[in-house]
């Protein structure tokens, strides 16, 4: 029962979604199913928040290594929740209704936290990507074998083809042979080899999605539902 009922729900919903793709009359059912998922996800968000608090409180109370980070996380979570729920610093749109302002209105405490704490932190994390791209490229482009050498050559051409240096270096090539310039070769590599490879992968992914969906609908693979017993 523990896995059968969830599987039945998944099966019925999945069949409705497939049906709605081909039967226009079922389009509303599809929207209903989407709304139900949104509802479930919203309820689960409360579960997630409770789990977050429980995990970090446990860590703080047992003074585990790194409990200070947990304290910072909890304080940040509670402060953000408080200023968002109680609209701290929000100026009411309608003076007769003191709660009428938007919780993210400019100048509010939540807006301030978002603009001056959250955004810079997210930006800093994203900026790390630049360094990681450089280190990954350095490792990937080492000519260890034939395949790696081909990759290195292709990367070299594409990098040059995307810069002015590439255009300048092959500027002497006549227009009739423009495909042999760095920009021309770059266009061929990206438009032919890269696109062909990407599409092959995407066809495989689409077939994999179809097969996995079918396994879920038929209940062939119920690993994600756990076991029958407690």
């Amino acid at each position: 029962m523990k896995t059968t009922i969830p599987w039945l729900l998944a099966c019925i919903t999945g069949c409705v979604m497939i049906g709605a793709t081909f039967v226009p009359a079922l389009a509303e059912w599809k929207n209903e199913a989407g709304s139900w998922f949104e509802l479930l996800a919203a309820l689960a968000f409360v579960l997630g928040g409770a789990n977050l608090c429980a995990q970090h409180l446990k860590k703080i109370s047992s003074r585990k290594a790194g409990w200070g980070y947990s304290a910072v996380t909890l304080v940040s979570f509670l402060v953000t929740l408080f200023v968002g729920l109680f609209k701290v610093g929000v100026i009411a749109d309608d003076p007769t209704h003191p709660w009428s302002g938007h919780h993210q209105a400019e100048g509010s405490a939540l807006w301030w936290l978002f603009e001056f704490a959250y955004q810079p932190l997210i930006g800093a994390m994203f900026a790390l990507l630049a360094f990681y791209v450089a280190s990954a490229a350095f490792r990937a482009f080492r000519a260890k074998n034939t395949e790696a050498t081909l990759l290195l050559a292709a990367a070299f051409i594409v990098l040059l083809g995307r810069t002015y240096a590439g255009t300048w270096l092959t500027s002497a090539v006549p227009d009739d042979y423009s495909a042999l310039t760095f920009p021309g070769l770059t266009a061929i590599i990206l438009g032919v080899f890269n696109t062909a490879g990407q599409r092959a992968i995407m066809i495989g992914i689409a077939l994999g999605v179809a097969a996995t969906s079918l396994k879920v609908l038929l209940g062939v693979d119920r690993s994600y539902l756990g076991s029958e017993g407690d």
Partner: protein
């Protein structure tokens, strides 16, 4: 007495004359000032009739208005077509027709309202807000300057929107889905009947045992990241399926597995899957649900938690199975920097190069979806892989047919048959109309 009075009147007469002439002068000056002041107003008043009520331009109305039920819809749309107004000529300056106004009313003529205002040159419109089964009248007028309108083009009979029970534009898509799903079911049954099947070895999946064994030997935990998406994504379901097998091996080896999630529903599903795996391994006592936690739904906050965990706890093996975006490289590079064995699989084609560059093994494309069947070794699951292969054969046949037709269309540009066949393949079977 009379004489005296006359004498007085005569004596006053010069003063009287002076006063009279002063009054006349004052009246004349005032009249002049008033005239000067009022002149522009009078001039405006004289001009006003010419500017306010220009000779009204009569705009030719649109004609031949037809309305039909929109095909392949849920009974909420009606297509309108009309011949544009004779005055709707782009070459004519200034333009006489500025646009068209569409009106809709119920079959009894009530509830008439303007539902759309279209640009000049418009010849058709689809009303997507009809009620299923309701009959409507439509009118279209041409609009000129100053909101002037032509006589309307009217429908003679009301039109009703009707629901269609099959979207014919997707018939080929339906055929392909039926063939692929049919192949999956047929091959599943064939393999279940006991016929052996060969599944090519997937290096990334074979390495899972090696990675977990290494983690056990080193006494370090394993990190499993099920991606950023929720349980409504099939890639996340595939990731959780892989997790259940990884957890089973971890339970056998007594390795510790950590699963930080970015969605509450994923956390719940992951707990169920890992608990079931520990139970199946006979190690239910070793299951600790505190190791499967919810972190945050924010992409880079989640990344910050994961990279922080990696640097602090130094997991011996990292698994990334699910949907990943820009964070893929940050995670994989951090894992690489701590020397962990890394195995990744994602359905995001754009992230695969990053995983290939930074991870030891990468499940490419459909391998993520095949992983669960491969790891389980169950015949009824392995059959689905054969079904996928049949789908690939179908895709290859369509690709070859497309390439041949495209080549023929280039070699014989005058051939209408080839052009039509290519158009049918690309537009109806594979193209937008088929999706």
């Amino acid at each position: 007495m009379l004489r005296n009075r006359f004498a007085v009147r005569v004596a006053r007469s010069p003063q009287c004359c002076q006063s009279f002439s002063r009054n006349i002068l004052a009246v004349a000056i005032c009249s002049f000032v008033i005239f000067i002041w009022l002149r522009p107003v009078l001039a405006y008043a004289q001009d006003e009739p010419a500017t306010v009520t220009p000779p009204k331009t009569i705009i030719a109305p649109p004609s031949n208005l037809t309305a039909t039920d929109a095909p392949d819809d849920a009974g909420t749309a009606i297509d309108l077509k009309w011949a544009p107004s004779a005055d709707d000529d782009p070459a004519r300056k200034p333009r006489v027709v500025r646009g068209y106004q569409v009106y809709r009313s119920l079959a009894d003529g009530s509830d008439r309202s303007a539902i759309a205002r279209l640009a000049s040159g418009a010849r058709e419109f689809t009303d997507n807000h009809c009620q299923r089964g309701q009959s409507y009248f439509f009118e279209v007028t041409a609009l000129g300057d100053g909101n002037s309108e032509s006589e309307p083009a009217r429908l003679e009979q009301p039109v009703r929107s009707v629901v269609q029970w099959f979207d014919t534009k997707r018939r080929w898509f339906g055929v392909i889905v039926l063939v692929v799903c049919g192949c999956v079911i047929v091959f599943t049954e064939i393999v279940k009947s006991g016929r052996g099947t060969y599944i090519r070895p997937i290096a990334g999946l074979k390495a899972i045992q090696e990675a977990l064994g290494r983690a056990t030997e080193m006494g370090r935990p394993c990190l499993f990241v099920p991606g950023l998406r929720d349980m409504n994504e099939i890639s996340t379901v595939a990731g959780i399926n892989v997790l259940s097998h990884v957890a089973r091996i971890a339970a056998d080896y007594d390795a510790t597995i950590e699963v930080p999630t970015s969605r509450s529903l994923v956390m719940t599903a992951a707990r169920e899957a890992v608990q079931a795996a520990y139970l199946a391994a006979g190690r239910s006592d070793a299951f600790n649900d505190d190791r499967i936690t919810y972190v945050t739904e924010e992409q880079f906050a989640y990344v910050a938690y994961l990279t922080g965990y990696m640097v602090r706890e130094q997991p011996a093996a990292c698994f990334y199975m699910g949907t990943f975006f820009a964070e893929s490289l940050i995670l994989a590079e951090t894992g690489n920097s701590i020397g962990a064995i890394q195995i990744a699989g994602t359905n995001e084609a754009a992230q695969l190069p990053f995983f290939v560059a930074a991870c030891d093994y990468t499940l490419i494309g459909e391998e993520l979806f095949a992983a669960s069947a491969y790891l389980s070794g169950e015949p009824h699951q392995l059959g689905s892989l054969k079904g996928q292969d049949a789908g690939k054969v179908l895709a290859c046949l369509l690709l070859v047919a497309g390439c041949v037709l495209a080549t023929l269309a280039t070699l014989f540009p005058e051939s209408k048959e080839v052009e039509e066949a290519l158009g049918y393949l690309t537009e109806s079977i594979l193209g937008r109309r088929g999706t």
